[in-house]
Symmetry: C5
Subunit: 332 residues, 5 copies
């Protein structure tokens, strides 16, 4: 493993600041050792669910105290039915986590397609360059609109002010429409379409090549539609509600069932069970919103920057900034 990492470094030397891919994992961290494992906070969801764990452990301690010192105050339960409830809960938590993970992974696939489409456009649009090695106006405009589209997408998915960057890349007329439209990214795509239609009418491209470029624009539009779908259609709320209610009730009843058999180990064991259940639940919540600005979400800021860098390189620019680097193990 170590030798591999050294190989990676040496490969980066070969390339200058190459090996592009190497730089967009989400949480960039070597696999931790056993005891490190228990003290990692970043990327863990332990802080978020800590109050609950403390509450469950405290409740357990109270229940054990009562069972020990005032055994008559509380009835004695058997763990059997709770085990049944616990397994049911696990099965459904697993199902929900699976659904959330697939949303997250689909979102990553969509952005991979997005980057691919940008590269395909940069490559195929060379057909617009009539003089060898010199970028034609139409091609330059197309790729700049593509960069603007990436920032418009980022602005929609992770609200932030990308307007100045976009304003530099498109014409004032398009920018005006962009500000007014109910669907701003689409305004940019429509402008790209008009560039293509103009090229077709000028005879710069043939009808059949228009089709190839049109397909790429439709793929850019697909990116937006698919991201919107994931962003605005969470797992049905009734579902989340049902699981949360059951999980909370289960954790609050646990001490009463296990105090009898586990004694003073109860607070520890119930806190561990609560950690697993609520940890998985909280992780599901994070994966459910793959574009939110949180540690386990997708690094779409970085991906947008990489798309911009690659397109600028394709346009022959040379003063390209370095690739985005993770801060505190996290790439946003």
């Amino acid at each position: 493993m170590q030798s591999l990492r050294r190989q990676i470094d040496c490969c980066i030397d070969h390339y200058g600041n190459g090996c592009i891919g190497r730089r967009h994992p989400l949480i960039v961290r070597p696999r931790p050792h056993l005891f490190e494992l228990f003290f990692i906070i970043k990327g863990s969801i332990v802080l978020r669910i800590m109050p609950l764990l403390v509450f469950v452990a405290g409740l357990s301690a109270a229940v054990v105290s009562i069972y020990t010192f005032k055994p008559d105050w509380l009835p004695k339960f058997d763990g059997g039915p709770f085990a049944l409830l616990g397994i049911t809960l696990s099965i459904f938590l697993a199902f929900r986590n699976n659904a959330c993970y697939e949303r997250w992974w689909e979102a990553r696939k969509i952005w991979g397609e997005f980057m691919l489409t940008a590269r395909n456009l940069a490559r195929l649009s060379q057909i617009l360059d009539t003089v060898d090695g010199q970028v034609s106006d139409a091609r330059k405009q197309l790729l700049q609109h593509n960069i603007a589209y990436a920032y418009a997408m980022l602005m929609q998915l992770r609200p932030s002010d990308q307007l100045p960057k976009i304003a530099k890349l498109v014409s004032p007329a398009v920018m005006a429409q962009f500000r007014q439209s109910k669907n701003p990214p689409e305004v940019i795509l429509r402008a790209m379409e008009r560039i293509l239609i103009a090229a077709l009418r000028d005879g710069a491209i043939q009808p059949i090549q228009f089709n190839l470029l049109e397909e790429l624009i439709q793929k850019l539009a697909l990116t937006q539609a698919a991201c919107e779908r994931i962003q605005h259609t969470p797992i049905p709320f009734g579902y989340t509600l049902l699981l949360h209610r059951t999980a909370y009730t289960f954790c609050f009843l646990m001490p009463f069932c296990f105090a009898n058999t586990l004694g003073w180990a109860t607070p520890f064991v119930t806190a561990l069970a609560a950690y697993t259940l609520f940890g998985l639940d909280a992780l599901g919540n994070e994966l459910e919103e793959p574009f939110a600005p949180i540690a386990n979400a997708l690094p779409i800021n970085a991906l947008t920057d990489i798309i911009a860098l690659e397109l600028r390189e394709a346009l022959g620019e040379t003063d390209i900034p370095p690739l985005p680097l993770p801060e505190a193990f996290v790439l946003m």
Copy 2:
């Protein structure tokens, strides 16, 4: 989280009434706090299954009373076999819920594709506009038919009277056919096809561009076929029947098994188990019909309106009404 929401608001300010996507989640609600969680009714299915929960709890109380005061009246059961039945039931409920969720999610994907196709058509059909910045007749008709098609789909999926809206958008001849046909939405698509064929014969588009537009019409038709499939082919009825029967029997037997070990906690525990089992079951029923007019279904009324708004904007209309807003946290 809070700061994010504020960012969203500020982004809306930038755009006018922008950030379109932000407005079509199903049940729009910030994540509730712990104790709120237990008192949310909207989007929850608790009201629907309440009679059953009361019945199970009452039955449990009766059984415990008998065990306590007349222990000879009823035999004593062991929970083991019921735990086995319960796990089996959980596994199959999980499987059914999974199947229902995937239907629901596929339905959402289909509508996402629908919206994408409408946008692609609005964008690509600019090729029909000969004078720059002026919408040609053919293009206007195409997009109006697309809006009419969206209302025809809505009318089929969530029965309601959309005929006046459609009548304004298509010619009287098409409308007459629409009223008579066994497959009304198809009538609109056939009219769109004829517009394209006329444009081809007039030389307004070249044969290869006809193909691109034809593909979009076939995608519109795909939307209808896929929605029909989901709407009219539920999970096999024998399947639903088997699971319901087993779940009901299981809940009615539970008190007899657990009364012995749980005592007076039995009514509470059995009601909780019934809540989880029937809650998941009821939720599965809701997701099984993603176009029905219920809280956890898809907001296809709103999606249809958004498609109409976007196409009208593409046609250069300026008096566009605001985007649909959720009422009481729910968007239909």
Copy 3:
């Protein structure tokens, strides 16, 4: 729910006998009430597995009798290992049912695609009509062959005599080949191809439009290949065998394990467990053959009729029979 149904009825009034989709669910039945649930026979598989349930209950009664009156005749078992076996069995039954359900759903998707392709062909082939509003000969032949193809598919998937219907739609030469061929539906597609090639050579369509129509014919062929795959490749037999053997053995051993703890409730509980296990198994068997003429299979007779009706409507015929209706809640 009630109001929705009324809306549906009113929508049917608007359309004449419209709302086509509304008529091909498999088992058309409003959601039953609780107590109805236990007395529904149609679509249930309870009759098929009744002998087994009676046998298991009888065996249980015998075992309980022996334990009660001659406790020395039989050894006493503990339920633990059987619970383990039961859970294993459940997991694998769930896996098999999942596989069967996916076959069934894939079959439904294929038929959805089939209907879609027929509609696309009816719509796109308008390009063959030179005089507005008048169906050309080539187009008429194409669509009639498409109807014939649908009946040929039905004949292969659910053996029945559709030859007279087909003979009316194709030329005697094609019919003669159809009778002799080892792959009759393909004969019809080859005839369609020749119609297209003739249209191409006559100049009725341009080469690029030939491609569009050719794609649709390839999609029709895909339907056949995909249905054949599902029809002729069941779940591996060794798999079904293993699960059946384990399930039967499990049910026959159950009484010996539970008689001890459950007493006279054993016959009821074991019959319930057997009902769940064998019910799921029998349902899996039904879904495994989605084209077989059984209640939970797909209504391919009705779907074929609908394809025929829609194509005849597209050809301008006016004496079209009403859509197929379910009999005794079932649509075949």
Copy 4:
């Protein structure tokens, strides 16, 4: 069911030896009755795992003897931890079986696509026939190469000497390359490509139709690449190893856990559990290699023959041999 079978027979009468699909299920057998079920050997994997079952039963008998007659020789175990291990094992066996089944089903899909592509080629290549009803040379060569390709695939997937059959279908020059190449099937596809390119240069087909035929050749190549992937990339070996080790250890420990509670029923119960676990495991092994010459594998010999028969029929040959029939319920 009976009446259905009679209908099938009658349908075969209609078609001559028609109803092609009816003849390639893997293991062709009517659903067995209950007691037949326990004595079916063919397609069952019971023979393969019999030695293990005998060993486990013998070990169990020995352990029970010791517990009964020399209770001090062995410590007494509780079944709890083993139940846990057993459930874990079941979950992972289910996962592996699922993965194996999906490989097997994917392999079947690939061969379905293969057959479909051969049919599409036979149909579309009619465009090469200039005289009506007479097969052109180019078309004849194309289809013969397609047959040769099917045998070359079979030769690679289920090693056997198909060279004489191939030699009759391709030119000696192609055959010489075929014998030398590191990728023989590709040699045939390259020869097909050259036939198409020649037809294009001769003006027999137009450029756009070349594309349609080229797509079919790429689909033939896809078949090979996908089959190679499945054939040469088994489930990771470490995975299989881990599950086998755990399963064996589990079965050898079972007697020690259950002998105490089950007494002389132990040998039977442990053998049943071993049968289920190892049966599923062995079945997974069979499905993992869907092209191996074993009973539960895919009937690719028969599928290849059917492709050859259909293509020969398309070429107008009349002395076509009957379709392959299963021997002893199995079609290879």
Copy 5:
């Protein structure tokens, strides 16, 4: 099975060193016999997790000693709650392993597509050869760039110095860009695009054939984008962290729960359970990184070599080295 292997050998004789596919399984090994199974190290992950197993066994021995000789020192636990935790853990381990396996299998599919695209390019580019049987310059350059692209991909996925091989295949100008670019493989694809555009402008290919070749280049680009996605987006770290923590805690608590009931068998049983849990976990880790240079990863070095060999054969080279062979059962 033996006879099959002999058939394979004889098939290799037929082909010279043919049967290409036969040579890229990952860990090439005949199915081991029962007792061999327990002593296989290669491809097993037992060495990696050995320290942990020793620790768990040692801890168990210590706990049993204390329970036996100083029963008052430690409280007595019941296994119930731990069984619950264990099942939950199993369900989530299964889910994670499933996700990892699907990444691994998707990576294999991508490389299968890569090989297919290289073959398609080698075959289709024959259209560039004007003189029969003689490779044109443009075609030679295209295929050499394709080989270079394969090595560039390998260099990115499994860092190693492939620069000398690449430098021999592309022009110095492209090589200079390659060394500087932030996305080196893309540089090669852009050079291929320029070769195609030149061929189009020279009239060597028609516009519609340019489209076919362009599609293949886009598929090559897809390979890179998809591999980058898998390489740089691991399973969310918080997820891995949660499961590891729970698994470790579970294994450390196990002895305390089972020591009571299992006595001196505890070290063995807990070590077995730890072997299963951590073995699956470690295997998941290996599959999560399908391009890493480890035994269960994909043999992408060998696949790259095979692509190079096949393309060189297509170019008519005759001094082609033999196919890569596994060393010590493993193919890298």
